[in-house]
Symmetry: C3
């Protein structure tokens, strides 16, 4: 299975599909091709939300403002999964989540998280273009990795075993790659007065997804957001249509929403804006 994700819109991803299908017989799955253009950070968040739900696969993700420069192409092993894409941080949060050691989510250290990842630089020489490496570098790489793993898969972690990706003459292990982390929210297990985070992304429904852990809302009926009190709800429809609420989204984070409306407008927040949760009795 090879999944495809990009900010290419349409119809460029079709060329990637053609290249993959010319080289292997993998099942193809579209993840999304309408990520905000050249916004590595937002795409990295969303990939971390959706890709860990897949079985072991080859995920090819291309948000690549540095296409044609000397930024490297990477293959990242995370568990039994391979991620293929540019070396700009895009793949890293997903890789950590799949490897089960995302420092920001599990509290593990950056070092241990890094140790769990195995990263290869992919050396594609002479791509047909300098502007569409999704087609000319990453799709061929994904197909080659898929074929390499189609037999025995990755070796166990123990050193010394044959590594079918490392055996490809285009792949070379590297420890030199670009990290990307989302801000670690105040990790207080209760509000303890207040907790401050930020809006990571706004989804298509207008829900403002923060980096604050959802357990901050456990057992609460109301909470203040940036000073104003709001109801805490388990489901959007617990409130009347048009009413704002604070909930725990499907990602496990605190989410600012409006039943049948747009949370980012009602709360007056956008991506990167601070979000301060505090006790309803505080001010």
């Amino acid at each position: 299975m090879i999944t495809l994700a990009s900010d290419f819109g349409s119809p460029y991803p079709a060329a990637m599909k053609g290249v993959v299908l010319s080289r292997c017989d993998a099942r193809l799955v579209d993840v999304a091709h309408d990520f905000p253009r050249q916004d590595v950070r937002t795409a990295a968040f969303w990939l971390r939300e959706v890709l860990p739900w897949f079985p072991p696969a080859v995920h090819c993700a291309v948000i690549d403002p540095g296409v044609g420069t000397d930024r490297a192409a990477l293959v990242v092993r995370a568990g039994e999964t391979a991620l293929v894409g540019p070396d700009n941080g895009l793949l890293v949060p997903t890789a950590r989540a799949i490897a089960g050691s995302d420092g920001g989510e599990s509290g593990g250290s950056a070092e241990s998280a890094t140790d769990d990842l195995r990263v290869y630089e992919w050396r594609a020489d002479d791509p047909a273009s300098s502007t569409f490496h999704g087609r000319d570098v990453f799709a061929p790489a994904a197909a080659a990795v898929h074929e390499a793993l189609a037999g025995a898969g990755w070796p166990a972690a123990a050193e010394g075993e044959a590594d079918p990706v490392a055996a490809l003459d285009r792949a070379a292990r590297t420890d030199d790659w670009t990290d990307l982390r989302f801000p670690a929210p105040d990790s207080a297990s209760d509000l303890d007065g207040a907790a401050t985070g930020e809006v990571l992304v706004v989804d298509g429904f207008g829900n403002a997804i923060t980096d604050l852990p959802g357990d901050l809302l456990a057992g609460r009926e109301r909470v203040r957001v940036n000073g104003d009190p709001y109801p805490v709800a388990r489901a959007y429809a617990e409130l009347p249509a048009g009413e704002p609420l604070v909930t725990v989204g499907s990602h496990g984070n605190v989410e600012l929403a409006v039943n049948r409306g747009r949370g980012e407008a009602a709360f007056g927040v956008g991506v990167g804006d601070p979000v301060r949760l505090s006790e309803p009795s505080s001010d």
Copy 2:
């Protein structure tokens, strides 16, 4: 085969795909994920237009403004097909169309239509989220139903035969579910002066699709729409570009269109607006 339909936009449906593919090896087909958000009625219309063209399948459709409330999750048998989604009427028009007994279209009674459907409540306990049941309830249900039917399929209608879906401990037959019907237009087989219906949906081309049966236009060259006369055409291109026309759409209903333009603007109508067809000689 499992098809997926939702109002989730992007990239949430990818998580549903991951969940399904983690649980079974079904072919996945995207129907659409850009239905108007939380508009059960419009999505129910479109699903009825497109899903009956599929071979027997498991159709998972999620337009679910009540997510996280106590609305039930349903599995509906229609012929050899299973529909999986929330109990808000979304699945019912499609189920009736596939079962061949849509009361509104075939003139059959509601009772007989109901009798042809077999409905199960799906009891998912403890979903991971209260806001994304597409991922946490309906995708797992679709995979489970697919696997249950992968052997012998549904039993014949005769009672007493083994029912592989009923055998799943999460599914229980129910007669308590939410119906949804589109307004029955004047069923006159000819205009007989006039016929009144309404605009059900406007498609992406701007065609205003009514609930009036297309045979009202049979043999006519002109017809009045809300008092004004228009040409009746078989093909959009029978009129010059920019000219309005009345035609029978691919759904068999009367459609208000403009060749290479937008019908809803030219006719001044939107969803839910009344449409009165009358004889060209009338006024």
Copy 3:
């Protein structure tokens, strides 16, 4: 493998998928369904960009402003590939590119290009609608051609061999079909003072793709576009964000772009506008 491309938006293509899957077990691949509505020329350009990257397949492409009129339905053989769609020029540039003999690109003559194509008229009698031949004519045709070729594929070019498509009683060889060519740019291998072409399409990033061959930029650091000098770059990111540049796009043509911005706005050009490249020393 059957690919699908259209200007139908959503959810109409799902009906095409259902029809195909009711008739054969082919792998389905979505190319794009958001081509500009009823714009045959733009879609023809994009199809020529992406479809030649596929392995042999049946490509079903429907941009069809003449639906329901007497325009023919075509099946076009190009190499081991079949293209299915309306007779309005949509399929022709792709067919020539796949057959390896696009007159405009390779310099071959129109005659030889035409000779390499084998075109069949597809006679679908009595489609269910006069407005949705994607569902009622082209999807069934694509499935039938797929099944016909699933055995031995196309015969070698030599006459006298069995042709499984011609053997279908709905297909008949024809030499009467609509051509479509993109303007041949000045074919000077160097600027030789100046070269004039036009903008063929603007992609989703805002890149203005011209019909001027990319080798006009070989070895240059600067070039004038419509009189004003601009840097020539290999990669968008060679320039600071927001800066305009001229590059060779992934299609091999000269492209007017802005790093992390929109080229068509910065250069003040739209589809069909003239683009004159000249020496940086000229004025």
